[in-house]
């Protein structure tokens, strides 16, 4: 299987993630989109590791790191979202522009 295909998949997933992050209003979906983007990166890492025949499996190990961090990040992110929801009964990103001037 040529590497281009894998990379195209990865690019497609990343683009889906970007779209989700930028376009959707639901915070939960935004978070999920971020996960999608991270997984796209993981695919890239694994793909290049295979392609380059890297002996130490650096790509795969990095992918594992990313998964771990993604989990942690999602945990924090969801916690914030839940708190926001409790406070404001909404998870719409538009309505939480507290940092505005």
């Amino acid at each position: 299987m040529p590497v281009q295909w894998v990379l195209l998949l990865s690019a497609f997933l990343f683009s889906v993630g970007i779209y989700g992050v930028l376009a959707r209003r639901n915070a939960v979906i935004v978070l999920m989109s971020i996960e999608v983007m991270l997984n796209a990166v993981n695919i890239n890492l694994v793909a290049f590791n295979a392609l380059l025949q890297e002996t130490h499996l650096m790509g795969q190990i990095f992918a594992l790191f990313v998964i771990t961090i993604a989990a942690a990040e999602l945990g924090v992110g969801l916690a914030i979202v839940i708190l926001i929801y409790r406070n404001r009964t909404t998870v719409s990103i538009d309505e939480v522009s507290l940092m505005k001037w």
């Binding site: 992050v21 930028l22 376009a23 940092m99 505005k100 001037w101």
Partner: protein, 670 residues
Amino acid sequence: MVSTVKETAEALPGVIEIAWLIPVIPTVCFFLIVFFGKKLKGKGAEIGIAGIVAALALSIPVFFKTIGQLGHKDFHGYSKSVTWMEFGDKEVLELGYRIDGLTVVMLLVVCFVALMVHIYSTAYMKGEVRYTFYYAALSLFTGSMLNLVLANNLLQLLVGWEGVGVCSYLLIGHYWEEKENSNAAIKAFLTTRIGDVGFMFGIFVLFFAAKTFNIQAITEIVEEGHISNTVLTTAALLLFAGAIGKSAQFPLHVWLPDAMAGPTPVSALIHAATMVVAGVYLVARMYTVFHASPDALQVVAIIGAITMLMAALLALIQNDIKRVLAYSTISQLAYMVAALGVGAYTAGVFHIWTHAWFKALLFLGAGSVIHAVHSNNMSDMGGLKDQLPITHKTYLIGCLALAGMPGLAGFWSKDEILTGAFDSATHGSTVGWVVFISASLTAFLTACYSARMYFLTFRGNPKYDTSHVHPHESPAAMTTPLILLAVLAVAGGWIGLPGSWNQFAKWVHFGEEHAVFSFPVAAFGTLLFVGGFALGWAMFHKGKFRFDIKKSPLAWSYKLLENKYYLDDLYMGVIVRPIRDQVSRFAYWTNQNILDAVVNAGGAAALGLGKSLYKNVDQPVIDGAVNGTARITGKIGDTLKFFQTGNVQYYAAVLFIGIGISVAGFLYFN
């Protein structure tokens, strides 16, 4: 550096050695009385009297010691001094005394009259306010006067001179609850002070001409002819200015009549016998300077001639008995001044001597009368002959001595003066004639007003309120001095009898050709006395030749006399009041509105400049620049804030676009 005075070679006789105590004792008494007087039984009077007795006790041996030496050729008087202060490396001022014939005569006069007055005052001032202070001032006066007499240099003399002035001020103003009295005191002080300034300048002139203040040294330098005539004339006239003030000569005589506001014994001591003769004494003391300048002597003589006549006329119309005596004193002082002016040195000083006795007697007698009738006015007296026998007799002696009755003290000195003036006149001096004529007229007038005073006071019918006033003779403390002075008023002149008996001329002389006794002049003098006294008797006792002067053609002259020749009004109106009220206010006005205004304007200008700088430069320009920076920053921020939407997705989009542009740029430029 030592002065040029030749000290007497031999050691000074014991009593002369301690002569410095004579002025010191009364001065110390002043402090004792001030600090302890009130607590003593006699309220301080005993200290004063003790001091004077001590001074007199010292003066008498000094007198005899000195006159014993006076015959000797090289004797110029005893003198002794210590350095008082030094200026620079050449000018020295000493503190010392000098004793010669003139000094000892004055010593006796001052001490004796002062003693009489001290004793007299114990009764006269009894129960009066400030009795203790009165004695303190008397003591200080005596000390200062003795210092004046004994001083061997002019500056020390000036110290005594001003000292007696201030005591006179204090005593004239003794009853200062009344404003008139303190006015009189101020008038006396200021008027004499004007003369004193001249005196001071005279001292300066002599000092820089002779390089010393020492009187004897100046005398010698002048005698040697080292000083130019102009300088001497200037110095003499300036010194004489002091004498004019102190001895109440025209035109500064105006203070003396007012000085009668003081207690009567004070008038006797200060304003008759001692202080007022200080001016004459000064002229006599510095006679070498005057003698070397004929012009100055002529001025002296003419001032004397004017004053004597002017004052005698005024004495004639006074109602206040003390004022009669005051004008009489001015007139008699002028006699002395004129005598010195025409060169009759001994005669002038002799008149100091005789005048002191009879004038002190008259004043104290007047005091006794005033004590009895409680009024100064002769219109409240009359017929007191029997109620006040001792006062009456002694007063009569005083009047006759003043009038110049032959045999009494006044006659001899007056005769000497007339002789001297006549002598000068016959030697071709116009001024001599002026003085002689004026002195003759004055002698006549003097006899006349003496008679008037006597008859109005003691003879005729009582004019006092007989139902309320019961005159009786004064206590012994007052009559004893009267008797003693009366004795001197009779016998005091006998030491100056004409001819070879004249002791006085041996004591006090100036090497002048002594005018010999002239019988015609003596007879003329006697005639003047008889005529004047008889006229006075006729007019004021017998009521002859009376006419209402106010309705006669002479009314203007009466008015002139009544207003004291308008001199007081002139001085008050032209000098004193304008300076005190207008000139001073104007000066203060200029101070506040010109000088101070300049300062304040300077301050205001600085303030205004500051304000306008602040308003027009600092705030808009400089501070404007600072604030402008801030404002511009703010404006920029205002614009940029719209990029801060707070929308995470917006931020993320920008982020991604940014990355895109960066990558694109990177690819493009590589």
